[in-house]
């Protein structure tokens, strides 16, 4: 009797476990299929984008009327952005696939800039026409390779989820079709990096390739770096300092210092250039207590810190309080002109007014003794270029970097339109509206509303 009951119980247990396992398996499959579907959609969309891209570029080559070229190039721009988006959704993080993304971005920038231009006044140059031809040839290559990958993958029934799994597990996947296909595409794109997209696109992307060649002074040793840091913060002897050199791959040859101050229990990190021994950035890690000093007082601390360390004249352009931390942005000025590329940020603790951070990389990479050009446009002429509804409240002269990252000398107008505050830059050379920026109000905390 007992034996029969036990057997019955066991049978139920086994059946239950089996059913549970089956359910688990089903759920797992459903999730896998779902992510596979997402990958497939991104992949097929990408192929569609590149087909369309190829056709549109081809069309611009055949076009003669300027009225048609602009909208078609605008479509190229849209398609590159969609293609870029789709690439970002494929599990290629472990594959080098960046050259293709880079290529798409630059192609987008190029078509965007040309499509905005008034082609009646400034028609496509021979060089730009050649660029378009190159792009056409290049996109043919990419399109072919992607189409081939798509066809083979579909014939062999290769799943993206399998590729992803294999990639993350380090062992080679059984079938390399997809991976090889994408590697070929990326290699091809790398070859196209030589394409001449014109000076505008080039300057947009070279902006990040900054360097410290403008710095004066000789190379310093590790010991000198330590001394510099002690001087910079007026440290006492009990502070422990360790120094490391940055690796060969770094843009800026520098020493990285870590300082621990037992008195304040604060650890300060700092990078200091090897050439000349200038501090690139400083960041302090410590517990900051409740706010005791005002933003206004903190700004005075920041200003006196800068006066102690900088030869250039600096002016505060923004002040922001984040709870018990304040961050100030300063730009250098010359003859009353604000030079925005020469930016320095300073972080101040609002519990005691200590400087907690300094970011001088922008300044060090861009600062030199600029010549302030003479304005070819009067202030009155510049004001006439503004939207008549815009009410000017403040005016400054400024050097800014425009959207193709070139420095331009501008009238800076700060003012309001309705309830919003804007900053508008009008070129002092030709009266162009170089930049319009809507300034932020306080951001509401939606989570507590």
């Amino acid at each position: 009797m007992i034996r029969n009951a036990l057997i019955a119980l066991l049978v139920i247990a086994v059946a239950g476990t089996g059913y549970w396992g089956y359910k688990q398996q089903q759920e797992k499959n459903a999730i896998r299929i779902q992510s596979e579907n997402n990958y497939q959609r991104a992949f097929h969309d990408l192929n569609f984008n590149l087909d369309a891209l190829h056709d549109k570029i081809g069309e611009t080559l055949a076009m003669n009327s300027k009225r048609q070229i602009s909208p078609t190039l605008a479509q190229v721009w849209r398609l590159t952005s969609e293609a870029h988006n789709n690439v970002g959704q494929l599990p290629l993080g472990l594959l080098p696939f960046n050259k293709t993304e880079d290529f798409l971005t630059k192609m987008g920038d190029f078509s965007y800039r040309v499509s905005l231009r008034d082609l009646e006044k400034k028609p496509l140059t021979d060089k730009e026409y050649k660029t378009l031809k190159d792009l056409y040839a290049n996109s043919t290559g990419i399109q072919d390779e992607l189409r081939r990958t798509e066809a083979v993958a579909s014939k062999k029934d290769i799943r993206w989820t399998d590729v992803e799994l294999a990639l993350s597990k380090k062992d080679q996947p059984q079938d390399n079709t997809i991976i090889d296909g994408f590697k070929t595409v990326d290699k091809a794109s790398q070859g196209y990096a030589e394409t001449d997209f014109g000076p505008e696109v080039a300057s947009m992307h070279n902006a990040k390739k900054r360097n410290l060649t403008k710095l004066e002074g000789r190379y310093i040793t590790k010991e000198e770096a330590k001394k510099q840091a002690i001087k910079f913060f007026q440290l006492k002897k009990n502070v422990k300092i360790t120094v490391k050199e940055t690796g060969k791959g770094s843009q800026y040859r520098a020493y990285s210092l870590t300082m621990y101050n037992p008195d304040t229990k604060a650890t300060t990190y700092m990078d200091i250039t090897k050439k000349g021994g200038y501090p690139l950035w400083v960041l302090q890690d410590r517990k900051v207590g409740a706010q005791k000093i005002s933003l206004n007082k903190a700004q005075k601390e920041a200003v006196s810190f800068l006066n102690m360390h900088m030869k250039s004249k600096m002016e505060v352009v923004s002040a922001n309080q984040y709870d018990n931390i304040a961050v100030f942005n300063f730009v250098s000025t010359k003859q009353g002109v604000r030079i925005y590329p020469d930016m320095i940020s300073i972080k101040v603790a609002l519990d005691n007014g200590d400087i907690m951070g300094y970011q001088g990389t922008d300044f060090l990479t861009s600062h030199y003794d600029r010549k302030i050009p003479a304005a070819k446009i009067t202030e009155k002429q510049a004001r006439a270029k503004l939207n008549p509804k815009f009410k000017v409240m403040e005016k400054h002269m400024a050097i800014i970097k425009n959207d193709i990252k070139q420095e331009v000398y501008c009238y800076e107008f700060l003012g309001v339109l309705g309830d919003e505050t804007y900053i508008i830059y009008i070129s002092a050379q030709n009266g162009d509206e170089e930049q319009v920026k809507k300034l932020r109000e306080g951001q509401p905390d939606y989570a507590s509303m």
């Binding site: 050259k99 971005t105 990190y269 950035w281 700004q299 923004s318 922001n320 984040y322 109000e441 507590s448």
Partner: protein, 297 residues
């Protein structure tokens, strides 16, 4: 004789009128600003008072959120201009005094509305009931945000304005670095916490800086979410650790990175040399090691 009597009467009347006026005002000005000079970019109770008072006399019509934003700045400058003060957009001693003399500010009432999550205004001469639009939630979400401990403290005290002074009012708004949203900050804090919660502070700033460097680079997606959720880009995304609740340290690290601090020297990748699975990552030019991670171009 008669004339002088009338004269004395008049002066007396005048004097009483003045004393009445003065005494009538003084209780209102007892709570007026801390001694700090309030400037654009500041946040906190003094800014709430400043906005309320400027609204009382119609200079300010924006939200009372405790953030000294541009709208508050122009309102203050207009006030200074109308009152023939120095127009500098700073709420210093004279400006604050002039403002306090001309306006009323009910600290308890204003903070109660904020805690309840109500939308409200503080225009002078309008009955208070008409200035409040109650929030739809059962209890204001703002009240929930206040720590429970402080709520208990409030209970023991008498209900009303005076008791409310002790309770911390939840934040209504904040400054956010240009070009980003509060949601970007939250998302990045999640990613930083999931990726590097065992790291020192500087290591967390470094991870946040890499995310920003990628957003700005043409070889990567150009949004914060695009970069973070790129399949295979971050292990914390792949294994779901990104959904852990981040701590304050991670949020602070993200804020530093968004404000421009980059300890990595413009790195685009990082990896943990002990657990890295991809051989390719070793071929990238290395910049430096911070904590357990090697940062590369």
């Amino acid at each position: 004789m008669k004339k002088s009597m009338r004269y004395i009467k008049r002066t007396l009347l005048f004097l009483t009128a003045i004393t009445c006026l003065l005494t009538g005002f003084t209780p209102e000005t007892t709570h007026a600003f801390t001694p700090q000079v309030i400037q654009k970019g500041a946040t906190g109770d003094d800014v709430i008072e400043l906005q309320s008072r400027l609204q009382y006399i119609g200079f300010y019509n924006g939200p009372i959120d405790g953030v000294f934003s541009w709208r508050t700045y122009w309102a203050l400058r207009n006030f200074q201009y109308e009152n023939k003060l120095k127009v500098d957009g700073l709420a210093g001693f004279t400006t604050k005094k002039k403002l306090a003399d001309q306006t009323k500010f009910d600290y308890g009432w204003v903070h109660k509305q904020i805690r309840k999550g109500n939308k409200f205004t503080t225009y002078g001469g309008v009955p208070k009931e008409k200035q409040v639009k109650k929030s739809k939630g059962k209890t204001g979400a703002g009240a929930k945000a206040a720590p429970a401990k402080q709520g208990a403290k409030g209970k023991s005290a008498k209900p009303g304005a005076k008791a409310a002074v002790k309770v911390r009012t939840p934040k209504q708004g904040s400054n956010i670095p240009d070009g980003y949203s509060q949601n970007d900050i939250n998302l990045m804090a999640n990613a930083v916490y999931g990726e590097s919660r065992g790291e020192k502070y500087i290591g967390q700033v470094a991870v946040a800086a890499v995310i920003i460097n990628r957003v700005e680079n043409s070889e990567f997606p150009n949004t914060v979410s695009g970069v973070i959720f790129e399949p295979g880009a971050f292990t914390a995304v792949a294994d779901g650790q990104i959904y852990l609740t981040p701590n304050e340290k991670a949020k602070k690290a993200v804020m530093d990175a968004l404000n421009g601090w980059d300890p990595t020297g413009e790195a685009l990748y990082y990896f943990n040399p002990d657990t890295a699975t991809s051989g390719w990552i070793w071929t990238r030019p290395q910049i430096k090691k911070i904590g357990k991670h090697i940062y590369t171009k």
